[in-house]
């Protein structure tokens, strides 16, 4: 469709301030009219050096930092940190706490996917679903707020459990949310997913092959929509995920519509997990009472992967036996997903590139750390 036939190109700056980049991402586009000749993401506008901060704080002091990485999927990030420290220190987590962690993580996944959905449709020009999903998010976040105390950047998990127990109101609320969300998802599918204009905007845009996924390290819905079966919850189960029965939505199309459908289906699967988890929350302690105040993990390095709403987040922690980490490397899923943008976007139209970026589901603070 696009053949480079002119030498006249101009540079358009999709600047750090732009409604469609979902954060402070700058992309230097070399354009030939409406076609993109070259796209170069420029990162670092919200770089806060979380990895250096980790070296100057104790393990417990570092807990709030992880919520600020990806504020939409904060529980999964905190979970990775708690799991790796528990692995390194040999701390056991009570049954009740693992189930609570799963419920919170899956509720967080649904709210994150809802926001992605609203933001993608706004990028394409449909302003209304954004307001509808905030309604749904409000119900879920209100419930999570009553237990965790936060609405967005949750700092709820502790080493050996969670910081606050759940009560019967919460469990009843979660039981009600599941059928409510199912009717809402049905409405979204009827009004939005099957809309002819949306189909035409997303189908065939931004094809990502499985080889590309492997070469760039893409994970999450981006990889699953291209046919790569990689979900950390099933590949390397943590926090009791092996006990729940859920499917991994996949597609082989690899275009933006495939990523869209995969993520919408993931919301349904999260509802399944929550249903199973909430059916039988084991009684017992919500926190391991025998965790020492000062944690000094064994010397050596450790790795923990967790499936966040955006992909496979990994922490590589190097410990020297003191109470602060020697090195804490945060493997950001969105960084790997974004790195395939320059290759995919070459020859695309500008509006298609924005639809593609929306389907990648980027949160820039997580890339820049």
């Amino acid at each position: 469709m696009y053949t480079k036939h002119k030498e006249e190109t101009f540079v358009l700056n999709l600047g750090p301030q732009h409604p469609a980049t979902h954060g402070v991402l700058r992309i230097k586009l070399t354009m030939d009219g409406e076609y993109i000749v070259n796209a170069e993401p420029v990162l670092g506008y919200i770089h806060r050096m979380h990895e250096k901060m980790a070296e100057n704080r104790t393990y417990a002091q570092y807990l709030p930092n992880l919520s600020r990485l990806d504020y939409l999927g904060a529980i999964s990030f905190s979970l990775a940190h708690c799991l790796i420290v528990e692995k390194a220190c040999g701390i056991e987590v009570p049954e009740r706490a693992t189930v609570i962690r799963v419920i919170m993580a899956e509720l967080n996944r649904i709210t994150s996917h809802l926001l992605w959905f609203g933001a993608l449709i706004v990028d394409l020009g449909g302003f209304t679903p954004m307001l509808y999903i905030f309604d749904d998010r409000e119900k879920i976040i209100d419930m999570m707020d009553s237990i965790t105390g936060s609405r967005l950047t949750f700092c709820y998990l502790r080493f050996g459990g969670v910081s606050c127990d759940i009560d019967d109101t919460f469990i009843a609320g979660v039981r009600d949310i599941v059928p409510y969300m199912r009717t809402r998802l049905k409405m979204y599918h009827a009004l939005v997913s099957r809309n002819a204009i949306l189909q035409e905007r997303l189908v065939g845009i931004g094809n990502i092959t499985p080889e590309m996924c492997r070469s760039y390290g893409a994970s999450g819905a981006v990889a699953r929509a291209s046919g790569v079966k990689h979900d950390v919850r099933q590949a390397e189960p943590y926090s009791g995920y092996e006990r729940y029965d859920f499917d991994i939505p996949m597609s082989t199309d690899g275009d933006s519509m495939a990523r869209f459908s995969v993520k919408m289906e993931e919301m349904e699967q999260s509802l399944r997990i929550i249903e199973q988890a909430v059916k039988n929350v084991p009684a017992g302690a919500y926190r391991n009472g025998k965790v020492p105040r000062t944690l000094t993990p064994a010397v050596g390095d450790f790795y923990q992967a967790v499936e966040t709403p955006r992909g496979a987040f990994g922490i590589r922690m190097v410990s020297d036996g003191s109470n602060t980490p020697y090195r804490m490397k945060l493997r950001s899923p969105c960084l790997s997903n974004l790195s395939l943008l320059p290759e995919v976007v070459e020859g695309m139209l500008l509006a298609d590139m924005l639809a593609f970026m929306g389907s990648l589901d980027l949160v820039i603070p997580e890339i820049d750390r």
């Binding site: 250096k52 590949a235 000062t294 990994g314």
Partner: protein, 152 residues
Amino acid sequence: MNDIVSLLTPLSVHTPRFVTYTEKGWHLDALIVTERIIDATRVLADAGYTLETITGVDWPEQGNIELVYDLFHSDRRERAVLRVRIGRDGAEAKSISSLFSGAAWHEREAHDFFGVRFEGLADHTPLLLAEDADYHPLRKDYGAQANDVHQT
């Protein structure tokens, strides 16, 4: 995984070993000879592994910087870790971006934070730091050390 071990052994400093997954989080651990990292990564790339991340760790008292390559095989669900050690002054390593395109950004980040130059990487402009940054924050001899840790 044993086929990979036999292919990696001639490229490694010691024989690659298996670690306990539940304790550490990966399966295979190999310390590779610095010049042979591309061949070692090729062994894993041909077997179907994905590069997840490249981590730099600064060991000033050992006088070197360690680069840790985390690779994952989604079908076999196996994790492999390759390590190289390079000197702190004039830190030079070989780039694997010809095998994994995603390595380019990880190597740029390692250059930002540790000052490692990768042979074969065309673009060393800072990925996360400012364009004119000439400091390397994650080295242990940089800036503020543990002066805001509250001992409890």
